[in-house]
Amino acid sequence: MTSSRIHIAADSVCDLPAHIVESLKVHIIPTYVNIGGESIPDDGRSLDRERFFRELPGMRSLPTTAAPSPGDAETFYRTILDNGATRIISIHVPEKLSGTLNAMRLGAEAVGADRITLVDSLQLTFGIGYQVWAAAELAADGAELAAILDAIERVRQRTRVYAIIDTMEYLRRSGRVNALVASVGGLLKIKPIVDVSDGEVTSIARLRTWSRAEQRLQSLTQDQSPLERLAVLHVSNRAGAEKFLDSIRDIAPSDTLVIETTPTLGTHIGPGSIGVATLSRDWRR
């Protein structure tokens, strides 16, 4: 059975919904959200996302997010290997933004680093998800390690992730991306469009109104057409995401997803924000 030899693993920041995770047979390790004294795994069961985001603006102290522990990682890998995998490709949230990769590395060393290939996705949300998706499909077809890694690289090249930040308040409080916050400026109400690439989040446009920001997001999305995949992401703003999708319906693939992003990201971005993750068709060339 060649198809089961290489297994694909990722963390929950990849935002792939449960039904896709299941059909792709990929393994997801949850990151954590700390609310008050409690550390809740983002496993799609323990935390009610909708309720979390509804309550976020009123929380006295901002929740923090945490990487899995090295112990979590070790158990995670051991379980996958025990189920018949000979090799794991493990794709994660960028090292520049999170301690997850470091924990995964320690976990991998404990179970045998030679059987686990760690990949820094240099991306967030579906930007990770598309790499996982392509890798899982190739692995299922029995592709070799090098071919899968090559595909991951090509997917990364043709992936774009953009978001409109509705309010800078959460990014400012989170302290994760101080350079971004400093570059956007403090006093004016600004709705920046951020871009995720090379494992960094940077502002690429400063718009003063939501409608102008939406127009810019439309044109940025259109620039990536023709699309193989599209996900419209939001933080507690499904209506805004649906409305945006309508505005770019002509270039959206029929299986476009509207996804509420993980609390691990949403905590930093803040409610109201919307975004897109695109994968252009030409990644296959």
């Binding site: 570059s183 403090g186 006093l187 004016l188 109400k189 940077t202 502002s203 400063r206 003063r208």
Partner: protein, 541 residues
């Protein structure tokens, strides 16, 4: 006795007396603004330009006229403030270049140098306007005939130059309708006439008269040797005689303003010796209160401070291009800083930074490229001159005419540098963004005036939309709402109100509520600007 030529020290004395003359006319020239708004302090700008010029030659003992003229012109270039000051500095540079290396000034050389001055002056502005200082300089220069140059002395030539300049000045309202509407002559031209007519010394000075606008301003005392002090005080007593006090003080100084009643008189006077008007006031038996004495030159110099801020951090964000902006008000400074402006120069309406201020700012930058946002129509030329003088650096000026346009440009600056754009593309995006911003500026009228269909009373709030007076009212809210009738509301999305010094956040919010009620569906934002003179600066986009 006719002297056929003038040497360097004689020219220095001419410049000195011209400068003194101008120093006495500062207030008068300032009042010749076309708009009754507190901007374009032409008198003070021209004075500072020439004062800086004179500093260059004050210690020079050479009798070589070309050295004196060149150093004077250099000082003027550095000290140039405001559009008239900048044009004046170019006239002086042209004059100095016209002298070549001649050590003495003859009548024919005076004629050719004046011609060179005019050529350079016209070349310094992209679209020369007639009815301004340029016209006065040109017509004065053209009055010098060749025949005269062969027979007359330089001093006689100077006399006819002054007469022609005076006539040209009086004709400026016929060339510029805006002047005629406002009932004034051109302020820059007036400054040039004041400078020229002071040169021959006492008698000639008294023979020529400057047109007056408001209250009368007496000529300076004979032989005045300094630029003076600004003296203000209250006289408190019983049975005080306002008219008599005014009459007697007018003999002791210039720019005299005396108002009050039998119990309190407020005095404002410029004098060479501040003790003299104070002594007079004490001797009337009145008690003095609130005495303020300021050295006029030092006062202005102190106000112009350059903020160096967060340079290290800024350079980390954008090491290639740095922005220098002019703004007044701590809130506006903070807005510019927040958008990664490297250097802020305090200044704006009525307080124009000089070419030298810009040069000093540029030299403090680590970046090889600098972009200047003058943020005022009257500061653009001085900024441009600084850029031209620093040939070894790449300095570009985006001719922003309001601070609001400057903020628009700064937002685009961030976007452009984030994307790693080259200077040319950065400039293009900043210019386009600033052009998208429309401005409503609210200020108080300095005097009664008529503008098109508007009757404006002193103290009225006037709304200036994109540089044009569009509304006037006794209250700010009405002026603002009237100004909105100039906009196609369909196209307006966002209104940002920067409230000035002396206005509270509550008042600003109240104004925004009125705007929202009048114009539905607008996004509005209120930000502390802290700017003087303008209670509200409102960007409409």
């Amino acid at each position: 006795m006719t002297v056929a030529s003038i040497g360097g020290q004689a020219l220095k004395r001419l410049f000195r007396r011209g400068l003194e003359s101008l120093s006495h006319d500062i207030e008068l020239i300032n009042r010749h603004n076309v708009f009754p708004v507190p901007d374009g302090d032409t008198g003070i700008n021209m004075f500072h330009t020439l004062n800086r010029a004179y500093q260059e030659i004050e210690e020079l003992e050479t009798d070589d006229i070309s050295v004196i003229a060149q150093r004077f012109a250099h000082g003027a270039l550095m000290g140039a403030r405001g559009n008239s000051g900048t044009i004046l500095s170019q006239l002086l540079k042209g004059f100095a270049d016209g002298l070549g290396e001649s050590p003495i000034l003859t009548a024919s050389l005076l004629k050719s140098s004046c011609g060179a001055a005019v050529t350079q002056g016209y070349a310094s502005v992209s679209q020369p306007t007639e009815g301004t200082i340029l016209t006065v300089a040109r017509e004065a220069s053209e009055s010098l005939s060749l025949r005269q140059a062969e027979n007359a002395s330089p001093r006689m030539m100077l006399t006819s130059l002054i007469r022609a300049a005076q006539a040209s000045l009086e004709n400026t309202p016929n060339l510029l309708p805006a002047l005629k509407d406002a009932g004034v002559v051109d302020a820059g031209g007036m400054g040039l006439v004041s400078f020229l007519r002071g040169m021959p010394g006492g008698r000639a000075r008294r023979r020529t008269n400057l047109p007056e606008t408001g209250s009368s301003i007496p000529a300076a005392a004979e032989g005045a040797e300094s630029f003076g002090y600004d003296v203000q005080f209250l006289m408190v007593g019983e049975g005080l005689d306002v008219a008599r006090t005014r009459r007697e003080l007018e003999a002791l100084g210039w720019s005299v303003i005396v108002v009050g009643d039998q119990e309190t008189i407020k005095v404002h006077i410029h004098a060479d010796n501040p003790a003299i008007p104070l002594d007079y006031a004490v001797k009337t038996g009145a008690a003095l209160d609130d005495v303020v004495v300021e050295n006029m030159e030092l006062q202005h110099r102190r106000q112009l401070s350059i903020d160096l801020n967060r340079q290290a951090q800024i350079d980390a964000v954008s090491s290639k291009v740095a922005v220098i902006a002019v703004a007044e008000g701590d809130g506006l400074h903070a807005v510019f800083r927040g958008l990664n402006c490297s250097i802020l120069i305090s200044g704006g309406a009525g307080r124009n930074p000089s070419t030298e201020d810009f040069i000093n700012a540029i030299k403090r930058l680590a970046s090889s490229c600098a972009i200047i946002l003058p943020n005022d129509r009257n500061i653009v030329l001085a900024a441009q001159q600084a850029a031209d003088l620093l040939a070894d650096r790449q300095v570009e000026v985006i001719a922003t005419e309001t601070v609001l346009q400057g903020i628009g440009a700064m937002l685009a600056f961030g976007d452009a540098t984030d994307s790693g754009a080259e200077l040319e593309a950065v400039l293009e995006r900043m210019s386009a963004a600033s052009a998208d911003i429309r401005s409503i500026e609210i200020t108080q009228a300095l005097r009664d005036s008529k503008f098109r269909d508007l009757s404006i009373n002193q103290g009225d709030y006037i709304a200036i939309v994109d540089g044009m007076i569009c509304a006037a009212s006794t209250d700010t809210e009405t002026a603002v709402l009237d100004a909105f009738s100039n906009f196609d509301i369909e196209d307006v999305e966002l209104v940002t109100v920067y409230y000035g010094a002396g206005v509270s956040a509550v008042e600003s919010e109240q104004l925004i509520r009125r705007i929202r009620t009048a114009v539905k569906g607008l996004e509005c934002e209120s930000i502390y600007g802290g700017q003087p003179l303008y209670p509200f600066l409102i960007s409409v986009e």
